[in-house]
């Protein structure tokens, strides 16, 4: 019995040593003076263990525990570098995602340093399609970072549940991810692990690139670093990485190509069960062309994906901006042919008039995400290569995202580029930007008349709009939510969303001269004179706009030409973000 007791006591001490729990050796020795040798041995052993550094917590981030001031609520994910928890931030009174470095890695100063460095780098990227980092710290020897809690499903989960997607939906997701990558690359980083498992589709539809555990620093012009190849996921990494070449922006584009391929096929372009098989297949070019896997896909989309998947990185897109443009070109044109006689004949006067009226009550549940930018938001990686970086370093490109929705019977649906609308439809815009910005929503009809849909006098929302908040426009008036309402039919309408670091003085000036609308009454939208349009959009930044570029020349819109030229000017383009969509509003006879 005594032997058993002694054994149990030694076991408890050994447990404490293994778990790193402090031991009161004086008390332990007094409790069992006859076995002081054994206690001395364990005491010596504890000294050896301590000298090796702290052992990881036995509890390992248990639910209900605190990390700093954050309260851990549930484990929601785990990877090679860390565990992710849903946690509560009592200071901000909201739930966040908390990623903690794995306890076994937390013992390594270098791993901790690298983890915090990842957080710091990620925090520099402010983009609606990139996970937002709020902070990073070390508590109780364990490094962690907290980020937005994105509620939704990964694209892999969406794929598993809903099956392969259409080219159009995949292209829309691809466009958002191109923008996300442009922002990441602009911060001199490479994601290195773009795949369906690492992209979330948030409830409400926003696409969010996450998991920067493999992120690398990219310094244009510096030689490759050894060992880079080990990052990424074999079936989704570019073939040059398998050969040990350093990762660069082109390797992210390859992975994005694989992601798009997978979205429409649920397969990988090169499938293998071992590394040797994988590298052999790459070497022999044994890929399954997308055209074979999905013969029904539009050629534009297939070509865009195949170009991203080119084994030669030099033959891929020059950057995310170029890939984004190619994907935008895959989106079907508006339903009607705008050059047809019918459309022309009907285009006698503005076809779509907008009033803003009280919205239907009820929470809007948005389905899918994106609208199509025909004019691309300026992205640093989209800047022509001959433009040298100004000194000092220019501000990063303004980043924002926008979606237009139709609200009907209390539910919302996103409107696609070329989407059809009709009288009685209530529309609204969701917009989020990475910094305070002045937002202008303009409508150009087929006659080339330009109207201002936002801002408007009398609305509760005014410029500049706050960053990192989803704004619903036109907004509220005296606390009541408003929509834009389609009041008549006929023709195409272009809707432009312009976000600018600086207010557009001329436009603001015209708006201040508008009369306030009575609540409930129809609003007269301010028509901008051609002079104002020209002066405003040629004059931003104080230079003359360049000639329209091929990217926008296809659009027969004067405003589109002006804005397109603007967006393609690197210096001015950095300070302005432009988004356009086209709506089809045919009359009943069409």
């Amino acid at each position: 019995m005594e032997t058993d007791d002694r054994g149990a006591r030694l076991l408890r001490l050994a447990e404490a040593i293994a778990d790193g729990t402090p031991i009161d050796w004086e008390m332990a020795g007094q409790a069992d003076p006859e076995n002081s040798d054994s206690f001395d041995a364990l005491r010596a052993l504890e000294a050896v263990v301590s000298a090796h550094g702290p052992v990881p917590d036995a509890a390992e981030g248990s639910i209900g525990e605190r990390w700093g001031s954050l309260q851990i609520r549930a484990k929601i994910g785990e990877g090679s570098f860390g565990e992710v928890y849903r946690a509560y931030d009592p200071a901000l009174e909201r739930e966040i995602a908390l990623k903690l470095l794995q306890t076994d890695r937390a013992k390594s100063e270098r791993a901790t340093h690298r983890f915090l460095e990842e957080a710091r780098r990620l925090a520099k990227v402010r983009h609606p399609n990139v996970l937002v980092v709020h902070g990073a710290d070390v508590h109780d020897g364990r490094a962690g970072m907290w980020t937005d809690l994105v509620r939704g499903r990964t694209l892999e989960q969406v794929l598993a549940h809903d099956g392969p997607m259409s080219a159009q939906v995949a292209a829309l997701i691809g466009i958002d991810l191109c923008r996300a990558l442009a922002a990441v690359h602009a911060a001199d980083m490479i994601h290195r692990d773009v795949k369906t498992h690492n992209v979330m589709r948030e409830e409400g539809g926003r696409i969010v690139l996450m998991d920067f555990g493999s992120v690398g620093v990219f310094s244009p012009g510096t030689p490759p670093q050894a060992g880079e190849a080990a990052y990424g996921t074999p079936l989704t990494v570019a073939p040059e990485l398998l050969r040990g070449v350093a990762a660069g922006p082109a390797t992210d584009l390859y992975s994005l190509g694989v992601l798009l391929y997978r979205l429409v096929t649920r397969r990988y372009p090169v499938e293998a069960s071992s590394f040797s098989e994988l590298t052999q297949k790459h070497d022999r070019g044994e890929t399954v062309p997308l055209r074979e896997a999905r013969p029904d896909l539009p050629t534009d989309f297939v070509q865009a994906v195949e170009r991203a998947l080119d084994p030669d990185p030099r033959k891929r897109f020059g950057g995310p901006g170029a890939m984004e443009r190619a994907l935008a070109g895959c989106i079907p044109a508006p339903v009607a042919d705008r050059s047809s006689g019918i459309w022309r004949a009907k285009a006698i006067r503005p076809r779509l008039r907008w009033i803003y009226g009280a919205a239907a009550v009820g929470l809007a549940i948005a389905a899918i995400v994106v609208m199509v930018p025909k004019i691309l938001p300026p992205s640093p990686t989209g800047i022509p290569s001959h433009v040298s970086s100004p000194t000092p370093t220019p501000p990063s490109a303004l980043a924002a995202s926008a979606r237009l929705y139709r609200e009907k019977n209390g539910t919302s649906e996103p409107l696609m580029h070329g989407g059809r609308v009709g009288p009685g439809d209530a529309l609204y815009l969701e917009l989020e930007g990475s910094e305070p910005m002045n937002v202008y929503v303009l409508n150009e009809d087929e006659m080339g008349e330009v109207y201002v849909l936002f801002p408007l006098p009398g609305l509760d929302q005014a410029n500049p709009l706050s960053p990192n908040t989803t704004h619903r426009l036109p907004g509220t008036r005296a606390g009541r939510r408003e929509n834009w309402e389609v009041t008549s039919a006929g023709g195409n309408e272009d809707v432009f969303v312009i976000a600018s670091r600086e207010p557009l003085r001329k436009v603001e000036g015209e708006l201040t001269r508008m009369a306030l609308a009575e609540p409930g009454a129809a609003v007269r939208y301010r028509k901008l004179s051609q002079q104002t349009v020209n002066e405003t959009f040629r004059g931003i930044g104080g230079t003359t706009a360049a000639a329209p570029t091929p990217a926008t020349a296809a659009l027969p819109s004067k405003l589109a030409d002006l804005l397109g030229a603007l967006a393609n000017e690197p210096e001015r383009g950095r300070n302005i973000w432009i988004w356009q969509t086209r709506l089809s509003n045919p009359s009943p006879s069409q």
């Binding site: 054994s38 001395d40 917590d57 590298t279």
Partner: protein, 201 residues
């Protein structure tokens, strides 16, 4: 979510660590890269504690760890990859031998301070500083008297700082708790072997 380095979860056909070791044995460069990345932090930290003072700047430690990994991979054909724990114990053994070799070399030719890893002759390591050369020696000696399973459990938990869940995976044990009990029993045995203040060698 969570960081991913060649995440096994996303590529079901390329999964267990044992299969990485097998692939590395077959000369697969990517598998070697993966294993090196997986263990380099733990090994570097371990080596840092055992190298004599003055020879422990990061580049020295990195050199040593890297050459250990290269050696380990070159000799990998002779190694039977029973499980990850055995592989780690094997890496640790090579690393320890390397450190001892370097110290011996430095002692033999102190004038060649610029050669190899610039190890000063006979300077104490942080581990020796903390617990003394005698106690560290007793510990190392006692470790050799344990069974392989016990030794691996101690090395993984105490020296390499793994959590129980990882140890369970590395030692083919059914749960984190089973791994904890394996570590605890191994520590009791290790204590027995080390003896009290004067040791029982």
């Amino acid at each position: 979510m969570g960081g991913t380095v060649l995440s096994p979860s996303s590529t079901p056909s390329l999964d267990s660590t044992a299969s990485w070791i097998t692939r590395a044995q077959a000369g697969d460069g990517l598998a070697r890269d993966y294993l090196a990345r997986r263990y380099v932090d733990n090994l570097r930290r371990w080596a840092h504690g055992r190298l004599p003072r003055g020879a422990r700047d990061l580049s020295d430690t990195d050199d040593l760890v890297q050459s250990t990994l290269v050696q380990a991979f070159n000799r990998l054909r002779d190694f039977e990859p029973r499980r990850e724990g055995a592989f780690l114990a094997y890496l640790r053994k090579i690393l320890l031998n390397q450190i001892r070799d370097e110290i011996r070399k430095a002692r033999r030719s102190p004038e060649k301070a610029g050669s190899s890893a610039d190890l000063p002759a006979g300077g104490p390591s942080p581990m020796e500083d903390a617990i003394g050369r005698d106690l560290l020696g007793r510990y190392e000696q006692a470790l050799t008297k344990l069974t392989e399973d016990e030794r691996e459990a101690v090395i993984l938990r105490v020296e390499l700082g793994f959590r129980y869940k990882t140890i369970a995976e590395a030692l083919d044990l059914p749960s984190a708790n089973a791994a904890r009990m394996a570590v605890v029993r191994a520590l009791v045995r290790l204590g027995d072997q080390m003896g009290g203040e004067h040791g029982n060698r």
